[in-house]
């Protein structure tokens, strides 16, 4: 049985979909078979993050209605052979979907793929409760912002009750702010949440700019490298973090920090 991992956050806009898509691509790049499931019914964006929005023909509602087989419904990635995407773009909300059928589909995917990554919606509604009960592992995505940490903490409390393997990925960390003592670093956040640190994803301008025209994974080499480190951490159960502070160390680094603060 493959690893079925749910990506949750509590707070919206922390970058769950970006992280899920990037890690999915990185795992496929490491020759793993991966299926990404977009659980944000009605407001799905995982297909955009993967850069395959024009390839989606069928979605989960077509499969449930018998209009397509599961194999037809899975959208192959344009870049990596082992990566597939299951869309839910026609379903308006989680309430409109049959939960027993949904559980059956996810279990089936777990039997076929080595990794099933589920991008959950924000919040702790019925879809969150459903997902955390059926996945084998949970990854909480947070940013250094205190609202995100607070919401992640509430999510972590729910996760602890279920006694599932859980960890945190800290997204959008800024080296200049961490070195300047103006932002929490990933170790502080993981300690606050009481979760195992899986890794960090620094704030890269390339993602903000180039994710509008291509998949998040291909926005820059730095971004690709950061996602590869996260994927390897998930594979090998390690916690290596990309060094996002090196640019801001030393004399030139201090100058960069000052210039960035003025911008």
């Amino acid at each position: 049985m493959g690893r079925i991992i749910g990506f949750v956050s509590g707070k919206g806009g922390v970058g769950k979909s970006c992280i899920t898509a990037g890690i999915g691509k990185a795992l496929a790049n490491l020759n793993k078979s991966v299926c990404l499931v977009d659980f944000d019914f009605g407001l799905n964006n995982l297909d955009l993050m993967l850069g395959i929005e024009t390839n989606v023909v069928y979605d989960l509602t077509d499969y449930f209605a018998g209009r397509s087989r599961l194999r037809q419904t899975l959208v192959p990635d344009s870049e990596f052979d082992g990566l597939y995407y299951l869309s839910t773009h026609k379903a308006l909300s989680f309430d409109s979907v049959d939960r027993s059928l949904l559980k059956e589909v996810i279990t089936k995917l777990g039997e076929v793929f080595e990794y099933v990554l589920i991008d959950c919606s924000a919040g702790m509604g019925q879809d969150f409760k459903f997902i955390v009960n059926i996945v084998s592992e949970i990854i909480v995505v947070s940013t250094p912002n205190i609202c995100a940490i607070r919401d992640a903490s509430k999510v972590a409390s729910e996760v602890f009750k279920l006694k599932k393997q859980a960890g945190v990925i800290v997204n959008k960390v800024r080296g200049d702010l961490v070195l300047g003592g103006k932002s929490f670093d990933e170790k502080q956040i993981a300690k606050t949440l009481g979760l195992k640190l899986i890794g960090v994803m620094p704030e890269y301008e390339a993602i903000s700019v180039y994710s509008s025209i291509k998949s998040v994974y291909n926005t820059s080499l730095e971004v690709k490298n950061a996602f590869m480190i996260l994927a390897k951490n998930i594979l090998k159960n390690t916690s290596f973090c990309v060094d996002y502070t090196y640019k801001f160390k030393g004399v030139i680094g201090a100058l960069r920090r000052k210039l960035k603060a003025r911008a």
């Binding site: 929005e53 024009t54 773009h89 026609k90 025209i213």
Partner: protein, 74 residues
């Protein structure tokens, strides 16, 4: 093509695709409601055909049906 133009093109494509999805969802619900409304005025002969096309940013709607009788209110 500049970066801005590429972003704009991709966004327009995505928004048009979303319109097609909304159109698919709307057609069936709309057709079911129309049959109910028309059936109270006409005896429908066959199926009602509802065709919604997405053209640029507009929806054009064509409804075609046949009736074998009209119900008169006395």
């Amino acid at each position: 093509m500049s970066l801005n133009e590429r972003i704009e093109n991709r966004l327009n494509l995505i928004l048009t695709m979303d319109k097609f999805d909304k159109k698919d969802k709307l057609s069936e619900a709309f057709k079911a409601d129309l049959i109910k409304v028309f059936s109270s005025y006409f005896k429908l002969d066959g199926d009602l055909n509802v065709d919604i096309k997405v053209e640029n940013n507009d929806y054009s709607i064509n409804i075609f049906g046949k009736a074998s009788d009209i119900y008169c209110y006395q």
